[in-house]
Amino acid sequence: MLRDTWLVFSRVMLPVLRNPVAVVFGIAQPLLYLGLFGPLLGEGGWQWFVPGLLVQMALFGTAYAGFSLLPEVRTGVMERLRVTPVSRVALLVGRVGKDVVLLVVQSLLIMLAAMLFGFRASAGQMLLGLGLVALLGIAIGSVSYAIALKVKLEYVFASVLSASIVPLMLLSGVLLPMSNGPQWLYWLSRINPLAHVVDAERSIFNPGSMFYGLVSVAALVLVGVFYGVRTFNKESA
């Protein structure tokens, strides 16, 4: 099982290592937010904005992960792998592993870049911040692959994604504090687990409580991985 996971991970990681330029392109968007949006928040805004940006990266980076599975489903790759004795769980976990490793590398690069603008963090805070981002990535990545395996078609998958990601992001308070808005919008954000994860990520670099965020991320990982594993077991029995 561990060996299988490592093999699946290596197989999908290899093309990335052969062409690492794609990883750099992957941080173009958060870099733009950092350079063109971050300064709008004014003095002291960085400590507040960068943690949210990291959560946004986790969301966008791993939610789209399922797209990499679709060509393998459409050609015979998944089918070929399913006839090998390789563990069905490894087929999912190995892939999610690749996305989470990339996410952590990209998040680290963004944190370092943010420091040039005035973001301040200790090594311990950065480690904790990356850990939380990685957990969120595991949860969202698992769900993304499971949905991709179910819907199988690019255009369906794309609409499922945009229909779910945009509200999740808008209601998470990544860009502006939700408390600035009217009461109903604030309460709506409170039922979005991602908003709590954003709060937790922020409280790593600022004073505040991580409690609800940790509960949320733990629940997301449990539900996400369970759903992902179940789907991979069922759809590829």
Binding site: R11, T75, V77, E79, R80, V83, V86
Partner: protein, 310 residues
């Protein structure tokens, strides 16, 4: 190698249940090359997917390469090779990487995997392509790579689903030679096809499937024999005399045609008899029935029309 009893698959659709495979019995002995012939939608692939653990049967049971399909699918997977209809190697991967990972998925060590990969690259004429991206290979090369990927763990039983679809004639011929070589090496091969020439050229034995049931079984020659006999065409100036000797004979000018069973063996005696009664012959032709004739008599439909319609 394969023993299936009453294997069936029912799909539930909006318009009600559909029996894609209505319960088939399949026996394949070790070392045989068996062709599974049928038109598109007859249930070939569904059967193959059940035999290779990709699809759960809704009824029936099977033992594949010594392992029970229902209770030990992992055992089945370890002991069979499977080459699907579509290309099974990742478009963003390199040839040697895909082969090596595939070998390691079957439990080979890194070292053994490398040895095996270079063996198979040679066996399937893929040397020199190790570092090429899969996406840059020709259709024939991709297909040979697919088969090599199914052979990395030396399975004694190999399933091939429509192996030569979408290949040009030369690549097809080349692929057929490779498949024949596998059989010569003692591998049991079970392949589906809707090409008559492929079934005819490769198979020791054929199973003909239509509408989810097996409608015929035998060697290509046996099946042809069973149909309607061979077509014999005799050229003679005494056509009416010759025609009177055979049932259902058709006269066309100086040509008489009729069907007799085992034409190749019956012909010498037949010619002697005609000679004895003083009939003069200037040409003799024997046409063996094609598998298309076979298919037509078994199902009432021509396989060729099906293939063209698809």
């Amino acid at each position: 190698m394969i023993k299936a009893r009453g294997l069936a698959r029912r799909f539930t659709t909006k318009t009600g249940p559909v029996d894609a495979v209505a319960g088939v019995d399949i026996d394949v002995a070790e070392g045989e090359l068996v062709g599974f012939l049928g038109p598109n939608g007859a249930g070939k692939s569904t059967t193959l997917r059940m035999l290779t653990t990709l699809l759960q049967p809704t009824a029936g049971e099977a033992t594949i390469a010594g392992h029970d399909l229902l209770t030990d699918p992992a055992g089945v997977r370890r002991n069979i090779g499977y080459v699907g209809q579509k290309n099974g190697s990742g478009q963003d991967q390199r040839v040697a990487d895909e082969l090596e990972f595939q070998a390691r998925f079957y439990g080979l060590s890194k070292h053994d995997a490398r040895t095996k990969v270079s063996d198979l690259l040679e066996r399937f004429d893929l040397q020199g392509l190790e570092k090429r991206g899969v996406i840059t290979l020709s259709g024939g090369q991709q297909r040979r790579l697919d088969i090599a990927m199914g052979m990395l763990h030396d399975p004694r039983l190999l399933f091939l689903d429509e192996p030569s679809t979408a290949l040009d004639p030369q690549s097809r011929r080349n692929l057929w030679d490779h498949i024949k070589q596998l059989k010569a090496d003692g591998v049991t091969v079970f392949l589906t096809t809707h090409y008559l020439d492929e079934a005819d050229y490769l198979s020791d034995r054929l199973l003909v499937i239509d509408h989810g049931s097996i409608v015929g079984e035998g060697s290509p020659d046996e099946l042809k024999h069973r149909v309607s006999g061979d077509l014999v065409v005799l050229g003679t100036p005494q056509a009416s005399i010759v025609a009177s000797k055979f049932e259902n004979a058709v006269i066309d000018g100086e040509k008489v045609s009729f069907r007799i069973p085992n034409g190749d063996r019956a012909l010498p005696g037949l010619l002697r008899d005609l000679d004895n009664i003083g009939v003069e012959l200037h040409s003799v032709q024997v046409h063996r029935p094609t598998l298309d004739d076979v298919f037509l008599t078994m199902t009432g439909r021509s396989l060729r029309e099906e293939a063209n319609a698809a």
